[in-house]
């Protein structure tokens, strides 16, 4: 894997360029431009022209793209149209929150899905299994904002166990505040993971090497931890990598419900506000982030699965 790392990194570049172009074109296909979004009902042709000229959005798209790429090479993503500060600053402020949120969500999803998938797999087709699958099916079919509001209503407002939205001040309080949104996101993801994980575990449990381990006379829990868990984790990781995009997409909703100033909400706001520089910047950062996650899952997979080191 480590030998292939530089290759993987190189491979990302065309992806980023492609994403850059698609985003550039897509956002400019939206009706209205940053000036129109800024001015709203106060827009007059003169004001629009003045502001677009100020912001440089009156030039041909390809010129804008080249300028964007040129600035990008200096680490400059431009200035946010609506917030009027550098996009790098906007992202720097919002990204960590989302990162923590997503990481916590991933952990929650694993904590939920992994043991429960095991329990379900070990009780295949018995009541426990059916009940667990039923619960996760509900999790899978319930809109994420609804789960979020229920969490807020019960665990937050009613029981006062958790703060009702926001991100608090400081690290400890930050984690405390992000608990519910991360859990909400995690539930959604765990429902996706659980389904395939269960069948993976069932498959692994049936594998000959598990039988062989039993034939060695080692204890059942050692069989589970030493053989089944590790092999199931590989599939989980793959699956997790595939669902990072979904997870990030759901942050849009969760951040809205829980008043978390993260990057998902920012992106949608920026799309609606025609804040071209922010959309471009955030997309790029997301692409880098997701690619890194892919890379990390790849590395973790090859660490777990020596066959991949071929």
């Amino acid at each position: 894997m480590l030998a292939r790392l530089p290759g993987r990194l190189l491979q990302m570049i065309p992806t980023f360029v492609l994403i850059g172009i698609v985003v550039f074109v897509l956002i400019r296909l939206l009706p209205g431009d940053p000036a129109a979004a800024l001015l709203g009902i106060h827009a007059t042709p003169e004001a629009l022209a003045r502001i677009n000229a100020q912001l440089g959005f009156n030039r041909p798209v390809w010129v804008q793209f080249l300028l964007f790429v040129g600035r990008l090479l200096h680490g400059d993503l431009g200035i946010s149209v609506s917030e009027r500060i550098p996009v790098t600053e906007v992202i720097a402020r919002r990204l960590p929150v989302t990162l923590i949120l997503v990481v916590m969500a991933a952990i929650f999803a694993l904590i939920l899905a992994l043991p429960l998938a095991f329990v379900a797999a070990l009780h295949q087709n018995r009541l426990t299994d059916v009940a667990l699958r039923g619960i996760f099916q509900v999790g899978l079919s319930t809109p994420i904002f609804y789960i979020g509001l229920l969490m807020l209503g019960f665990l937050g407002a009613r029981l006062h166990w958790f703060p009702v939205g926001g991100i608090g001040n400081g690290v400890v309080s930050g984690f405390y505040h992000l608990f519910l949104p991360a859990l909400t996101l995690g539930i959604g993801l765990s429902a996706i993971l659980m389904r395939s994980l269960r069948s993976t575990v069932i498959g692994v449990l049936r594998a000959e090497y598990v039988e062989f381990a039993r034939a060695k006379g080692i204890a059942p829990w050692r069989v589970l931890t030493g053989h089944v868990l590790r092999n199931s984790l590989i599939t989980t990781l793959t699956l997790f990598g595939l669902n990072v995009g979904t997870l990030l997409g759901n942050t849009v909703i969760v951040e809205n419900v829980f008043a978390v100033p993260g990057i998902g909400g920012l992106l949608v706001e920026a799309i609606f506000g025609r804040d071209y520089p922010v959309v471009q910047g955030v997309t790029l950062v997301l692409a880098v982030m997701v690619s890194l996650v892919f890379l990390l899952t790849d590395i973790a997979e090859s660490w777990l699965d020596p066959r991949l080191n071929g």
Binding site: G40, I41, E83, I85, V164, G165, F258, A259, P261, L266
Partner: protein, 505 residues
Amino acid sequence: DPVMGGTLRFARNTDSEILDPVLNNANADIWILTNLYSTLILPAPDGKGLLPGLATAWSASADGKSYTLKLRQGTKFADGSPVTVDDVIWSLNRARNPNIGIWNFLLASIANVSAPDDNTILITLKNPDPSIPAALATFNSAIMPHKLFEAAKGATDTEKANNFALHPIGDGPFVLSSWERGSKMVLKRNPYYFGTDKAGRHLPYLDEVDLTIVPDDATRILQLQAGQIDATEFIPYVRVKELQADPNLTVDLFPSTQVTYLQLSVFPKLADGTPNPLSNTKVRQALNYAISKEAIIKVVTHDLGTPMHSFFSSTTPLYYGGDGPAYPFNMAKAKALLKEAGYDKGFELTALAQAGKANDTATLTLVQQMWSALGVKLKIQQMDETTLDNHRNASNFQVLSAYWTNDIADPNEMTDYSAYYPNIKSAYSGWNNPTVNKLFEQSQTELDPAKRAAEYKQIQQIYVAEAPEFFMYETPFAVATRKNVVGFQQSPLGNDIFDMAYFEK
């Protein structure tokens, strides 16, 4: 008695974008700005009158072509530096500069601002303008520290403004202490603020206001109920009754200038070239009659709204509501009018609404149902705000759900926008009434209040009779606070007024 001190935690649904009085354009900016900057004249909290601000007195010359204002002595910016006539002149000149921002039209009649002495400001006008005192009480005329602004980084006014607005120093009751974009804004008491209460105590009472951003209505209310915040605005009407019943909460319904209505295009032809049935006055009247405002007020505003009598709100100066609600529900009349107009077979209309605004879609859903009795088929299409504005500003729409809040305590802004053709074709509707146009132009220079009132009465009557919009309702601002919060006010223009707020012991 008011208690000094304390931190008020207030949740808003969206964050401000720029805290510059001139360059802003979003309500989320405007409604917070008055806490940071003072104007020469202050609007009364009820929106009806004007109070002394940085100027203690003002008077117009006999010909109405100049105003003289006396500056208050010893006022300071939040950093302790004095407010000088230079700051005033520079600020007003910046505010009326046609190349900066979009609010300069409010001060368009000013020809020159000067200072005969260190305590006096003389404003000369191109023509008499009765709305100047109100304009000077509007956020964009705020007085800013010239030197500090110039010291801000950047080459152009825009760049300087962007940087200055990150750490604005103003002369309002509060000063920005920290700002985490999209999440939280902390306002600290400005110790140099000139304002006092009736008992002579220095305002504001509060030490601090924490403004947090919570986009989701339901979450904001949950936070309030959980005691995580002390107050919040934009309570959905459906929740008002329920929250009023909560022993821990108070729900205030502040009179507002907010009106909700459906904007129309009355051009003879639509953007796609097909004939426009709404260009026919009778059709518009018929459709207006066919809308049961009572039902909408009941279902959508849960009886918090009131029917419109005019095209602007009853809280606006020079409002005329004497003829009663516009177009009370009358299906028979509606049918008759439509028949007269030759449209008794019905037709199709498309209404645009902003995506995610539950009330707009609810209203349109009701209208859709009501009109179906006339054979008028209404299609509803939601879109994001910018796309909607794009349709509006290109006059590319038939019906469009809209609401309005005044920014200035004068009817001229709304009239200019909605009823006066030469500027923006009466809000891009294409409604062009020469009488109204002439009356409005006269009223803009009319110094006699009675005559101006008469002109406005006529404008409103013509407008209602011609029905270039579908009248819906006006609504108060619903703000919920914890029981111990007293004195918070929202002006009819929407400004959040924190300087009189305090915690009851």
